[in-house]
């Protein structure tokens, strides 16, 4: 049984059908890429998995109309599609959303510790903190700085680091490279690869398709709310229509 299994998932915001019968799986130890054109529904799919669509549905925020979510999401064998976002996080499914904003008034260090809010093991938290600072030395330099005054790229680093502050059984990352300078981007992807090598399965959404294809074992191509193809980088790149039409390469 796969670690994460999405079956026939559909999401509708008012009249806009964002996801249309999406099925996808991430196995234990796997690194899975999710690519597709801008506006395909990639972020919505991740938000549906991590409970944020349900949250929005409850808060009636961000849209004037109804939000409808149908289908099944299973994590480690358990149905999670009706759970609240924090309950899903407690089960070890960590979502690092796109353009995630830090707590602007808190320092870098306080933001990171907030990521370990659920932890009861101080030694573990300390170890993870050091790990984050090793991955992002700039955050270490600026640990006492108020997060709201960080640059856009630094805020993205902080968001990514914060997701690693509490045990992750599956790391779901939405466009971590957004706003990052080339050199930092290379370091970030190396860090994600290392996290995976250390045994954490990863589901990665990223516009840098070439980068995803270098890292992922397997990929899904999403377009207009439907899965158009699934396979290794090699098999997807061999399909000329897919390459030009959906991958933008």
């Amino acid at each position: 049984m796969p670690l994460l299994e999405v079956k026939d998932l559909s999401v509708r915001y008012d009249k806009a059908q964002i996801l249309n019968g999406v099925s996808l799986a991430v196995g234990d130890g796997e690194f899975v890429g999710l690519v597709g054109p801008n506006g395909a529904g990639k972020s919505t799919l991740l938000r549906a998995i991590s409970g944020l669509v349900r949250f929005e549905e409850r808060m009636k925020r961000g849209t004037a109309g109804d939000i409808v979510l149908e289908g099944e999401v299973r994590f480690a064998g358990e149905r999670i599609d009706a759970l609240a976002a924090h309950e899903i996080r407690m089960r070890g499914l960590v979502h690092c959303p796109e353009r995630r904003r830090p707590f602007r008034e808190l320092t870098v260090l306080e933001n990171l510790l907030a990521g370990a809010f659920l932890s009861t093991n101080r030694n573990e938290t300390q170890r993870r903190l050091e790990h984050c600072f090793a991955l992002f030395p700039r955050l270490s330099e600026r640990k006492a700085q108020i997060a709201g005054t960080l640059s856009g790229g630094e805020q993205q680093m902080l968001a990514t680091a914060r997701a690693l502050m509490f045990e992750a059984k599956l790391l779901v990352i939405d466009e971590p490279s957004l706003g990052l300078a080339p050199r930092i981007r290379q370091e970030l992807f190396a860090a994600i690869r290392k996290i995976h090598d250390d045994g954490v399965p990863v589901l990665l959404v990223e516009q840098e398709v070439g980068q995803v294809f270098k890292m992922a074992d397997r990929n899904y191509v999403l377009s207009q709310g439907r899965i158009m193809a699934e396979g290794t980088a090699k098999s997807l790149m061999a399909d000329e229509t897919l390459r030009a039409g959906y991958l933008g390469l």
Binding site: Y13, A16, V35, P37, N38, G39, S43, G62, T63, A64, E98, R99, R101, R138, R142, Q145, T149, L150, S151, G152, G153, E154, Q156, M157, E175, L178, G179, L180, A181, P182, R183, I184, R185, Q186, E187, Q207, E208, V209, G210, Q211, F213, K214, A233, K234, L236, M237, A244, L247, G248, L249
Partner: protein, 265 residues
């Protein structure tokens, strides 16, 4: 001596103990399209926000078309013909997309000709058409993906028909093909011309962007800053070979310039 089109002189901004922009000086010519690059936290966005007057400099001056604009308010800067986009997009989420573009069009600069009420919607539509999201014009802005929000930002800025266009990572969230398309549109706008009711006099462009392959393909010049200071300024081909730029920003320059995109698989 002829006045430069645009000049910043010894511009400095501090946040508490951090000097975000440290005595930066440069000029822009009207016919230029210039990239502004540098590591995260180098001060690029702060520099743009000083020019658009979202932030006030601690010292230094900004001269545009012979006028010192250092003490103006943001809307006065727009009125002079400078428009910028924001890195973190904040549209009016509940308003239709087209209405988001109509808001800047209410500025006196944009409605200086008669019958503006009738015209601004058409003009807003043409700005959306230009960036490629006119088919979604009546949906609320909350329906837009990250990449389309960036396109909306560009539409809002170009709607005021600026003489100087400041872009803060306009290609974020777009895939390689979409990025290339928008970059080419920016280049076309810079060349000037009519795009429906939108008239472009060919603004100078100063553009922050980390997608170097797309950036380098459209700029004539690149300015690089690190820790708030200017470390390089020149044609793209020279700048990417500058050891200081490679050390501070590029890492392995091949990868940064997009070589990896096509090397995959």
């Amino acid at each position: 001596m002829p006045q430069p089109f645009f000049r910043v002189e010894r511009l400095t901004k501090r946040f508490g103990g951090l000097t975000a922009v440290n005595s930066v000086s440069f000029e822009l010519k009207r016919e230029q399209i210039v990239g502004l690059i540098g590591p995260n936290g180098a001060g690029k966005t702060t520099l743009l926000r000083l020019i658009t007057k979202i932030l006030r400099p601690d010292s230094g001056s900004i001269v545009f078309n012979g006028e010192d604009i250092s003490a103006l308010r943001p809307w006065e800067v727009v009125e002079r013909g400078i428009a910028g986009t924001f890195q973190n997009t904040r549209p009016f989420r509940h308003l239709p997309i087209v209405a988001n573009v109509m808001v800047p069009l209410v500025a006196p600069r944009a409605r200086r000709s008669g019958e503006w009420v009738k015209r601004i919607e058409a003009k807003a539509m043409d700005a959306l058409e230009f960036v490629g999201i006119s088919d979604m014009a009546l949906e609320p802005a909350s329906a837009l993906s990250q990449g389309d929000l960036k396109r909306l930002e560009v539409a809002r800025a170009i709607a005021t028909e600026p003489e100087l266009l400041l872009l803060d990572e306009p290609l974020g969230g777009l895939n390689p093909a979409e990025s290339e398309l928008l970059a080419k549109s920016i280049r076309r706008l810079h060349k000037g011309g009519r795009f429906g009711r939108l008239h472009s006099e060919g603004p100078a462009v100063l553009m922050i962007e980390h997608k170097l392959k797309e950036l380098m393909a459209i700029v004539d010049r690149v300015i690089v800053i690190d820790y708030g200071e200017l470390i390089a300024d020149g044609p793209p081909a020279e700048v990417v070979k500058n050891p200081k730029v490679i050390e501070a920003y590029l890492g392995s320059s091949h990868e940064a310039l997009g070589g990896s995109e096509h090397a995959a698989a």
